[in-house]
């Protein structure tokens, strides 16, 4: 098992906002975390990135990545994990890019931070952009000059260039139009197939998760309600709440006028 999480508990000011008893991830696997607002899914993502401290939260339990315990790492050691082993893409792709920086500058700085020489960086950037079907010309743009879908694909290119083991995608398509959402999902699937990146895909929308996930975890009010393979959760849900979530998804042709 590449990533093993046990008894993870996230709290703010002594109030537990999310607890995850077990979460396992293998290379190339896509785990979908589904839940409505307030379910604790985004808090789980923050904890997996080691970013909870910046929101003054506390994490207990254990998170082991390739045999290495992450929770006991110092902030300095965490920095070397983020961007090398684990990366994250966020819900509002354009807001997630620094408004005063050209995309190329951010890309180049990030690769430099993780030890790539100048000669390595250029080809790596172009290759990664090609993987997400973006022209290298985009490197000369500012975030406000590109569309939301392009921004999200750019963020995925960053992750692809870094060759991380785990990508955490927190509602990566919720702010996008359906057609653009489909593009982003294709690009994520491509990333997984090409580099064997494991993906934790977080969404409020079970049907989007169904497009990509091998395993599914359903959360509610900070607790895990149900988890299992995608087939079992979608086809034979054991919990009433999961059934309700599934039934609530409006389907075309479900009820006709």
């Amino acid at each position: 098992m590449m990533l093993e999480v046990r008894d993870l508990q996230i709290s703010y000011r002594d109030q537990v906002v999310a607890s995850v008893p077990t979460l396992d991830l293998e290379p190339g696997q896509v785990l979908g975390i589904a839940g409505e607002s307030g379910s604790g899914k985004s808090q789980t993502a923050l904890a997996l990135m080691g970013l909870t401290r910046y929101a003054n939260g506390v994490v207990t339990g254990s998170m082991v990545l390739d045999g290495r315990e992450l929770l006991t790492l110092s902030p300095r050691q965490w920095r070397l994990v983020r961007g090398r082993d684990i990366a994250m893409i966020l819900q509002s792709p354009r807001a997630a890019l620094n408004p005063t920086m050209k995309l190329g500058a951010l890309f180049s700085r990030t690769l430099r931070l993780h030890g790539m020489t100048k000669d390595q960086r250029g080809p790596r950037m172009v290759q990664a952009l090609a993987e997400v079907v973006l022209d290298a010309e985009i490197l000369d743009r500012y975030p406000h000059e590109i569309s939301g879908g392009q921004a999200q694909r750019f963020a995925i290119a960053l992750v692809a260039a870094l060759r991380v083991k785990v990508l955490i995608a927190d509602e990566p398509t919720s702010a996008l139009d359906v057609t653009v959402q489909a593009e982003v999902i294709d690009v994520l699937r491509n990333l997984r197939d090409r580099h064997g990146t494991a993906i934790i895909f977080i969404s409020h929308d079970l049907s989007v998760i169904g497009e990509l996930a091998d395993a599914v975890m359903v959360m509610r009010d900070g607790a895990v309600v149900e988890q299992g393979s995608a087939e079992s959760v979608f086809n034979q849900p054991t919990q009433e709440y999961t059934r309700m979530l599934l039934a609530a998804i409006p389907v075309i042709g479900g009820r006709s006028r």
Partner: protein, 319 residues
Amino acid sequence: MSDLLTVRGLRLGFGKTEVVHGVDLQVLEGPYGLGVIGESGSGKTTIGRAVLRLHPALAGSITYRGRDVLTMTRVELSAYRREVQLVFQDGDGALDPRMSVQSAIAEPLAIHQTVARGGRRDRVAALLAEVGLGSDLLARYPHELSGGERQRVVIARALALEPKLLVLDEPTSALDVTVQERVLQLIERLREHRSLGYILISHNLAVIDRLSESCVVLYQGAVVERGRTRDLLTTPLHPYTRALRAAVPELGVRRPPSTRMLTVGPPQTSSVLQPAGQGCSYADRCPLAVEVCRSQTPVLREVAGREIACHRAEDSLSL
């Protein structure tokens, strides 16, 4: 059946840029739902606002039960707005943060004096009950309500004047799925009980499918396809509608990317939408585009029992 609302050749703009280029819509007497499908930038919200004269029209006509809406005087407009109401997307902050639920729902009653002061409290409670909320919420303020509760309050307020026509602008897109389901059920129930006609604006095809008889698909401010909702969504013809339909994730159906009509398109070089000029506005993204698509703007024409603005509609039919 007669028309409740008819929109003809409606053009709308912001400043000098036109964003809606001659749109026709038709809502029959209720219970009847017209779906307006569109993504961001399609002009769908502006159309909804124009129907209520919250946005000025550049050209075209809006007719409500035979009366011309665009030329109404202030008094006529006030009467019109008693019969036509707007339900916003929750995120728009449709409730005044400084008003309690009671005063928010009572506001239209107070303005139009339809219910005497003494009877208002009962009327408000009855409206709340109709949307499935208890009168314990009367003293609450918007920030003390959940998203679903707020949207129900907005609906109750819109119902206070017994409207005949509702404009529902993305009524559930800000809500969690389970809450969305309950709001959809509410709309379904109200349309039958109150014989409501409504324009349902949404990007969610499944919501449109469930709540509308007929629908139009907007792309960059123009209707590209129009027809009976069931036909249009089961066998979409316009390449854009097909792309939309293919992009909708469906549970348990995991299609390989190649079955989508729109996979990852060519790298877009321009972030701004193309100006509406010569040719089909969808040509750049369309897999079926040929020479004529770039030189001539397609107009709506009847193909296989529906209207479609596409030079290659026939070819699309045989795909």
